[in-house]
Subunit: 353 residues, 2 copies
DNA sequence: CTGAAAGCGCTTACAG
DNA sequence: CTGAAAGCGCTTACAG
């Protein structure tokens, strides 16, 4: 033991960034062991004798020691950080996915760095760059273009798992967007609609493009020409505010008998616009969403939409990541989840014209 | 220049955690300058001559260099990380707050580590411990008890800003919960309700406790006895699932003429339960929520609720943090935002009994 | 199982 | 403005 006096216990002060925190050094001194032993107690407790371990653990507690991940990361190459890049954390669908991810990772000592792309490739690039410099152990991403910049993360400890779309590397969850959109448009066509507005995100976004393919396919299969049936509207962000604005514009220029939205938030905006304008849904115009977020069942009218299992997506993706399926040199794993149309009250036959 | 051959350009590989990335060393060599100069180009560009700077920047680009925050953090004591601890990222209210925070921090090269407490002190402690070990520069927190464990973060670079409740240290945003709940209960009492169920979170959570105080105060001011009027129901997590369950139980045991919920998600659950049971809102039972999240206006019936400016809360809190208001030795700053009752269609007079 | 030494990749004074 | 040296706080081999 050295002749250094015990410091007063400063509980909870440690960690990088705090003013001169308690370090492993202090713990080692107090417990009368070497630095390596403290590190082992922290990272490989089974390698340390029980008596020594208890002594070190007591010292850690009494000193209020909180290790610095940054320092550890430098040598161990583990940051304890997982990046989550989604289109919009404010969208209940993605918020639910996040909940699922959290529920799996919360007791694994992994922290989540989250960010929203809002369909902007520049934002996505910035976010991924930031995550790279933070040295995340793994990445969960819903890519918004085909740049595949995120594939680099497959080389990291936990690799990369895609929350959407098909991927070339790492693991992923596929939700068949073509099929989901196909179900939705087929429903509207069956009801007799022949003038349908499709409010979608940017065509460069994979899942937006796929949903459009499904819509076009459905129209084609009905023996119709998309040019005669479909009014395409593109919004840059898929929020209720943009849905509201798009709908306000829409009523000015045309009178579709149905509006199909690429997500429920857009549909919410359209519904709000319709209500304010005195349009009856589905009497005057039918409305169909996508996602089936938790509130749409209680809307007036209850929204017809395509269900996607948000919470489950988060859970499955996080589990894949933990399992190591996202690494480049593991056999790649793919979960296929099916979207399913839920018919409620917002869709009905077109008004007799 | 050394005789080291140029490596093939491995774009996007750098950063800790990647397999042997490109380091400042390589950049310095390629640009023919010293390590310190590279660091200056990265952190204090104005201190470097323009010609040298361009040369270094080119080397960075060509090498695909991505710095390691962890290494930098060790010496500079800046992690570029901000912690955000909220009750539930899956709740649209908090999701909107997050959106606000993101919008302010996204171009400041700060990454957000987020976590949900779900009103559990253990979860909060774990999250804060994790954030401390990650060395976050600052913390945004909606505390769920009075432990004040989060006050330690006031010593960090950016300090701590509370997203809820009053705080003893750092900066904070106060939303007058007593007042908000008071407005809500007063509205119901005025309508003539005398049997009101109040579904609230755990009493140990400050903002839950405050809302209850407001409710009790309103009842007292009306010259009534809370014991005669109020049915208290406590849920541990304030989700629609818990609201649904609580309501299902409620109809079994009693027949309140109104239900007041501590947030909109609970109210959504109650509404769903009422609909399934064939109860008319507000004909059979009035319903009032709290938060005014974006979808409640479109519910059937549109929900009467207490508005809180979620997005703005996020923006104001993030700006305070950037301004340094959260540090222990800065003059503490407080924003006072007012909640406001929005009367819609879910509340009306009690049924004639 | 324990302990002294080296080193992770940067930034920071400090001397030129 | 530039460059060599020290050091941030850990973890990791490696010798005992």
């Amino acid at each position: 033991m050295n002749d250094v006096p015990d410091q007063p216990d400063i509980v909870g002060e440690g960690g990088a960034g705090a003013a001169r925190g308690v370090g492993v050094r202090d713990v080692a001194r107090k417990a009368g062991v070497s630095l390596g032993t403290v590190s082992n107690v922290l990272n490989n407790p089974e390698k340390v004798g029980e008596r020594t371990r208890t002594r070190v653990e007591r010292a850690i507690r009494e000193l209020g020691f909180v290790g610095s991940r940054a320092a550890g990361q430098l040598r161990s190459r583990r940051s304890g950080l997982v990046g989550v890049v989604v289109p919009d954390v404010g969208n209940p669908y993605w918020a639910a996915v996040l909940r699922g991810v959290e529920s799996v990772l919360e007791d694994r000592d992994l922290a989540l760095i989250v960010g929203s792309t809002h369909q902007s490739p520049q934002r996505q690039e910035r976010l991924l760059r930031g995550l790279a410099s933070q040295g995340v152990d793994g990445l969960l991403v819903a890519p918004i273009d085909d740049d595949r910049q995120w594939e680099d993360f497959a080389d990291r400890f936990l690799g990369v798992v895609a929350l959407e779309s098909d991927v070339g590397v790492g693991a992923g969850i596929s939700l068949d967007n073509v099929d989901g959109a196909h179900q939705a448009i087929a429903h509207l066509l069956e009801l007799g609609h022949r003038s349908i507005c499709f409010i979608n995100g940017p065509g460069r976004v994979p899942w937006c493009a796929e949903r459009r393919v499904g819509v076009l396919a459905g129209i084609g299969e009905a023996g119709l020409n998309p040019d005669d049936v479909l009014i395409d509207v593109e919004v840059s962000d898929l929020t209720s505010a943009e849905g509201l604005r798009a709908a306000d514009d829409l009523w000015q220029s045309s009178r579709p008998t149905a509006v199909l939205c690429a997500n429920d938030l857009l549909a919410l905006g359209v519904l709000l616009s319709a209500q304010r304008r005195g349009l009856d849904v589905p009497g005057d115009v039918s409305l169909v969403g996508y996602d089936d977020v938790e509130f749409v069942e209680a809307l007036r009218p209850a929204l017809t939409t395509v269900h996607q299992p948000s919470f489950e997506v988060g859970i499955v993706a996080a589990e894949m990541l933990l399992r190591g399926s996202g690494s480049r040199h593991t056999r790649s794993e793919h979960a296929l989840l099916s979207p399913q149309l839920i018919v409620r009250q917002s869709s009905g036959p077109p008004p007799r014209g």
